[in-house]
Amino acid sequence: MTQVNRLSGGRLDRSKSLSFSFNGKAYKGYQGDTLASALLANDVRLVGRSFKSHRPRGIFSAGSEEPNALVELGSGARQDPNTRATTTELFDGLTARSQNHWPSLKYDLLAVNDRLSGFLTAGFYYKTFTWPATFWEKLYEPIIRRAAGLGSLSMQNDPDLYDKGFLHCDLLVIGAGPAGLAAALTAGRSGARVLLAEEEFLLGGRLIAEDMALGDDPAAHWVARVQAELSSMDNVRILLRTTVNGAYDHGVYSALERVSDHMASPEQGKPRQVLWRIYPKQALVCTGAIERPIAFENNDRPGVMLGGAVRAYANRWAVTPAQSVVVFTNSNDGHRTAKDLLGKGISIPAIIDIRQDAPRLSGVEVLAGAQVIDSSGRSGLKSIKARLANGEIRSFACGALAVSGGWNPNLSLTCHQRSRPEWCEDIASFVPRRDLPPGQLVAGAARGDFSTSRALQGGMNEALKALQNIGLTGQGIELPKAEDADPSLTPFWHVNGAKGRAWVDLQNDVTVKDVTLAHQEGFRSVEHLKRYTTLGMATDQGKTSNIGGLAVMAELTGKAIPETGTTMFRPPYTPVALGALAGRSVGKDFHPTRKTPSHKWAEEQGAVFVETGNWLRAQWFPQPGETHWRQTVDREARAVRKSVGVCDVTTLGKIDVQGSDAATFLNKIYANGFAKLQVGKVRYGIMLREDGIAYDDGTAARFAEDHFVVTTTTANAVLVYRNMEFARQCLWPDLDVQMISTTEAWAQYAIAGPNSRQVLQKVVDPEHDISNEAFPFMACREVTICGGLRARLFRISFSGELAYELAVPARFGDALIRSLMAAGAEYDVVPYGTEALGVLRVEKGHAAGAELNGTTTSLNLGLGRMVSKKKDFIGATLSRRDGLNGEDQLTLVGFQPVSKGDFIVSGMHLMNNEAPTDAANDQGYLTSAIHSPNLGHSIGLGFLKNGHDRLGETLRAVNPLEGGEVAVEVLSPHFIDPEGERLRD
């Protein structure tokens, strides 16, 4: 039998039959179904097991508030757990599975938890498994984790794309029910830029869920007309399948558009979902209302559903959950459900109406003053038991119970910025307060205006108000005549006297007794109640349960519900996949990649790259036959000292500083002096933070009296620029200084080694004399190369060898390195990478990032003498603090193992030979350690207390983390050419 519960009518395309499977069994549905409506049509009632007690559960609602019907969709990498069947649009080939059971949905061994219900009460995690403490991590937690939780992850990479996007509009209308449609039409006709976001795949909201007329036509006709008009307007954009999930500061909203979730897989290159950030000038919340249940004993069986949902299934999806449905209500809303179902030929054995003065309804037995007190049917409702007004108990056989306890305005978005709602006695529910977040308005049922007529009117009026707020004028529209029923009800939250369990929160298995117990144990605040019992947590965030829990709490405390309070509403309104939050920033696209102009050339050379910030830098260039990176690095480092090597240093930050006060300015940002630097010269400089700690070093080259080029480390280029702008704009705003980053504009190469000048002379145009006399150490000059290309040449050295840096416009970087390699061929030039660069600088004793580690001063770095005492600069005063200048300062020295075969590693701490290994005896630590190919053994740099006075001493370098200890000798940090003769040669 297929679709035994399918009725006539509905908003389905019956010409499009869709096949789907649930727990491996094949079913049919129609275009327009949700998974939930199709399951109901096929009389599938049991769809999952509850979180804690593993109780059988069915479909409860018809929307995103669903607490029960969470399924796992798809397979393989696309397996998607905890998806609400009620919002899952049916498509051909959809596969779904139920969750939280073992071995099967029908026979779940963990249903034993249900028998242990007395034990699994509120706060049971806190009370149990507390001793012995060591058992928690190894025993209790793994077991609990296996038993609890709902769906499971695929453990594979998500194969889909997710986009992020940004939308701007005058008016964002959230929800396309009667209020939203009236608002969108009003604003759209005025010419305003309107964005209408609707969570569902059809417009209309309750207008298409009810059997209702607007004017003389069925409501759906009016919806279709409005949709057609809105779609024809260039200034209106409709986003279907889009949930506005959060309202943020300054009127920014987030929304998730499910672009491809109604297809088996997204089209090639298309996103599965888009996370929109919306910047509306005004936002109108038209999110409707969510129905609330009434708690009674065993009210969680499959078949016990919200009344409005039963009605929506019948009217919109042409489905009844059963052929015989009993209604349980405290208002006329339940009667509406009965009327609609009767009209569809469904049998209604009774309306159980708690009101003593319940009205009659023709064709149905209305039991006024009665209450449902129990239900039966292990894996699906078979009957309910009611206590009548006279105390008599009666049973009714039925496949479903439509429960209506009233409606709660869906005001989540109005409260995302801490605003708390206020109580409205008329509808016995919370409504948004008047002081909404700036730029936000609310209309329709979300504001407590429950009748269709008031919703339409409210939507129009609030839209006009919104337009006025932003200086636009609109005109009222002609609204169709609509029902204007009185929403009043008799507040009723749960049936008293239950011996067994009456569920308040279906998703978290929280019962009336749990709330009572929590209260008895002293959890009086709503926030505490929530955390102790888990009421209102997890995927549904208590959309159908929070108020019920509050009501029980209020009874216990003897307070009114508004005095009891409400928990905080926080974004997102419905769960958002992490993939959507990440957007395209995943894998290799996690951040942009920066490549130097000769990147392709380096790839051709087989370079191994390393990420430094966003840059990809060549780490080393393996040659055939080299099997270990150290062979490669040793060869490169040796070649530089022996002849010549070329290294891409494009990534260094370059900041162009000009203006008549440029030198004065640099004097303020560098710890050492720059005012007297000659034109045509470069100087090493160190920058301090205001607290006196060194944070960056580099060089500044003076090309003219009023023109410098500052280089920074690769890592700090952005920070240094930011700090320099701070100094320029906030500290010395009247200096004549102009700055701009030119990092990107130049390709820059270090040419280092005793033959570097010979190589350069073949590249630099002959009219430029770069002999030692004409172009000495620390000179800089604008030159031309390769027949007229403008270039900048600097004679600076990081390796300690005779060395230059040559910069050309970036578009010529690739050609330049090829030219340099060709020119250097006769000197066996090698390209060298960052690793060899590191080896060379450690051999020379130059500090780098490992030494400028955010805790070290210029004194520590051995640069104390450079620091000017005669001028003000950033960090000047506080670098003179006693604490940074007292006894026992760490100073930068070199280290080598006493036994040359030993290896030292950075991070090792230094201990005196006789002293125990502990923090109290710590003498310092190693910051950089390498194998020196030019010395043939391990060497390192590090900070040692009073290091300068301890040259020649031996210490123990210890590695308490990984074990190991090496005897080391303290040396000058300058292992190679300590007098610096090679640089100046």
């Binding site: 102009p597 966003n614 102009q738 990107e744 970036a810 050609a815």
Partner: protein
């Protein structure tokens, strides 16, 4: 001039041009760029000097100005970018510097940027996925600086809703290109 071979920011010898449906993404390599900042207190003199020397009035906040040979756009307080719209070879920086003397500071930016021209009737939807800026409402001849997929960029509106130039940092040319292409594909009409 040099015998060295130029490379485009994407690392090729010719600029990349690609079409995705009606959207065209083209790497644009025939412009020269220099940044120009007024020396302290010289803004007005600089303005008139530039107008005389280069035939363009330096624009106000967020604006562009187009002369016969060069165009200019605002990049910050008292700072502009000048672009030579015709290929006058790499003389632009020198020419500007010479023209204005000590009234402003000039820095050659030609090699600092990659420029992509993106055009077609659907491009405004592409920008929705690229930047928080309300590109749809940009008027022809306006420029904003913001980010595209974490990459700082200038977006210049050449023809509103139809034709835009994006200037991004040259080193990120590849990532920016991938972002543009990925979005151009994502907005292709459904099959």
């Amino acid at each position: 001039m040099t015998d060295l071979q130029m490379m485009t920011p994407l690392g090729n010898t010719t600029p990349a041009v690609e079409h995705f449906g009606t959207t065209c993404i083209a790497e644009h390599c025939v412009t020269e760029l220099v940044s120009l900042a007024a020396r302290r207190g010289q803004t007005e003199l600089l303005q008139s000097c530039v107008e005389k020397e280069l035939g363009v009035r330096l624009p106000r906040v967020g604006g562009t100005a187009t002369g016969t040979e060069v165009s200019a756009w605002w990049i910050g307080p008292d700072q502009w970018m000048i672009e030579a719209r015709w290929d006058i070879k790499s003389a632009l920086a020198g020419r500007v510097a010479q023209g204005i003397g000590k009234l402003g500071s000039v820095v050659d930016q030609s090699d600092g940027w990659v420029r992509y021209d993106i055009s077609g009737p659907e491009v405004k939807s592409a920008f929705e996925k690229l930047t928080a800026i309300d590109v749809q409402m940009m008027q022809s001849g306006t420029v904003v600086r913001s980010t595209i997929h974490h990459i700082g960029c200038f977006i210049r509106c050449e023809t509103a809703r139809d034709y835009y130039s994006i200037y991004g940092p040259r080193s990120s040319a590849g990532s920016l290109h991938e972002a543009l292409i990925g979005t151009a594909v994502a907005i292709l009409p459904a099959e």
